[in-house]
């Protein structure tokens, strides 16, 4: 079975489908995620495909400081994604709330309280190269030997 497992490992690290959800951000980090599609940073050369369908995704990118409207919705989106999956928090907002973390603001940082986060990319907003490094270095580690870990 390990030959089959090594085929699965190779395929899973070369073809990653990404979906992103904005739980309350200013759009700066979303623009940097979109800038990765440009031929300058060219995310598709690594086999990463940014569509926006949770049912077909492997990695979920979360941007924004968590607003209370998303409390039930983020959990249901996370449950819809089929295994194996991972979530990455992009920007300062899902980690600590950035400049909005003052008394009186309707946010509830960090996002790691609500869904399990596998990696964080700090910055306000982070450069596209930093996000790309995070996605590329996370995927082989998380998806490696997935079936054998289940047993």
């Amino acid at each position: 079975m390990s030959f089959l497992q090594s085929i699965k490992n190779t395929v899973r690290s070369r073809s990653i489908h990404v979906s992103y959800v904005n739980v309350g951000s200013c759009n700066g980090c979303d623009i940097e995620v979109l800038a990765m599609l440009a031929p300058r940073y060219d995310i598709e050369q690594y086999g990463i495909y940014v569509h926006n369908n949770p049912r077909e995704a492997d990695i979920l990118l979360v941007t924004g400081a968590f607003t209370p409207q998303w409390e039930d919705k983020l959990k249901s989106i996370w449950d819809k994604i089929p295994e194996p999956k991972a979530a990455i928090a992009i920007g300062n907002c899902p980690i600590s709330g950035c400049v909005f973390n003052r008394r009186g603001c309707y946010i509830d940082p960090p996002v790691a309280k609500h869904i399990p986060i596998a990696a964080e990319v700090p910055g306000c907003p982070p450069r596209p190269t930093e996000i790309l490094n995070a996605v590329l270095s996370l995927a082989p580690v998380v998806f490696k030997d997935y079936e054998e870990k289940q047993q």
């Binding site: 904005n22 739980v23 200013c26 800038a35 440009a38 919705k73 400049v99 909005f100 009186g104 907003p125």
Partner: protein, 362 residues
């Protein structure tokens, strides 16, 4: 009056073409849209509430992060409102530098809006060309201010950093390169018959409807209201001899073409600023005092207004921000989407009105 609908189609918060969560609920009969409603409120944070009681050096960063796409104009209008109520003057070199950074931000925002539209009508080649051209504008922003997005460049009394001579040469080369490439891309957009079939005559809004829905920005100028441009009243733009553009049709094609024309206009404005630039100080000093003022500026999406009231040490007592996207979204949902003949045109009409949901919901 009874109307028959086949299905109530929600174009939901998560969608491949939208960057931000908003829901359009369309009542359709077959594929023809009868009416549409917008559901907003997914990203409201309450920024104006935490701005109260803070001095300008913290409010500036909060105002910038209202919207990440048009962050420079929020910075500029916030600081100009504080200067207006305290009576602070800006030195001439700083005023020209402010216009340069503002127009670079406008270029990248318009190229992003057109990329979004071409991506929605599935012309991926042209959309990738435009996104790559946008990277040149971001490089220039990074050279002058040090950051690509949310630059924090303007302070009361001037700007933070100066433009060096070697950076000025790089900027002029980049402007030439952008103009040459843009000629090719606009040619591709104008001469494509499929683009014309999907954009001309789709999502029409007439001049009277735009006035009734209080449309602003390129949406208003594409329907024949050139006096809606707030840059006509700004003293530095008047010195540069700025005149506004307009189209008459009011469909998707006119809205995209007017954004391309504004990119050409911005490149011309930056060139004129570089010619007229004088050496001198970049900061004039000035303390923010007590007072109350309203100021408006022209964001890439329309007219942006700030109302600010401060106490005796310059801390904010009361602030109200009115962003342009809410009116464009209203004119899209209630006027443009009526009579759209296919469900695929709903998203392209919505994207051509250039919504920015984070601006709308602060």
């Amino acid at each position: 009056m009874k109307k028959t609908v086949d299905v109530s189609l929600p174009i939901g918060p998560l969608h491949p073409c939208f960057k931000e969560p908003a829901r359009i609920r369309c009542e359709t009969k077959g594929e023809r849209v009868i009416s549409a409603e917008m559901d907003l409120g997914y990203v409201k944070k309450g920024i104006e509430r935490i701005m109260r009681g803070r001095p300008w050096q913290e409010v500036m960063f909060l105002a910038e992060r209202v919207c990440g796409i048009c962050s420079v104009i929020h910075n500029m209008v916030c600081i100009e409102t504080l200067e207006k109520l305290s009576g602070i003057d800006v030195p001439e070199r700083a005023a020209y530098l402010r216009v340069i950074v503002n127009e670079l931000d406008r270029i990248q925002s318009h190229l992003l809006a057109n990329f979004s539209y071409c991506y929605t009508i599935e012309h991926e080649t042209l959309s990738m060309y435009l996104l790559n051209l946008r990277e040149t504008a971001m490089d220039m922003l990074e050279l002058i201010t040090g950051a690509r997005v949310t630059c924090a460049y303007m302070v009361p009394g001037g700007v933070r950093f100066d433009l060096r001579d070697e950076d000025r040469l790089t900027l002029e080369e980049a402007l030439d390169h952008m103009e040459k490439e843009l000629d090719r891309y606009v040619g591709m957009f104008k001469n494509g018959p499929l683009i014309a079939q999907r954009s001309k005559g789709v999502g029409i809004i007439s001049r009277d409807d735009v006035i009734e829905a209080h449309g602003v920005g390129p949406v208003a100028r594409a329907s024949g209201i050139p006096e809606s441009d707030r840059r006509l009243e700004h003293p530095t733009y008047r010195k540069l001899g700025f005149t506004s553009l307009s189209y008459e049709d009011g469909d998707n094609y006119a809205r995209i073409m007017i954004r391309f024309d504004e990119v050409y206009q911005s490149i011309g404005l930056i060139r004129r600023c570089l010619e007229n630039m004088v050496p001198g100080p970049i900061r004039g000093g000035g303390i923010v005092t007590a007072g109350e003022a309203t100021h408006a500026g022209e964001a890439p999406r329309g007219e942006l207004t700030y109302y600010v009231k401060t106490d005796e040490y310059g801390r904010i007592l009361d602030i109200a921000i009115r962003t342009p996207s809410i009116m464009n979204i209203e004119s899209c949902a209630h006027y443009m989407l009526e009579g759209v003949s296919s469900a695929a045109d709903i998203t392209s009409t919505f994207i051509s009105a250039d919504p920015c949901i984070a601006c709308t919901e602060r």
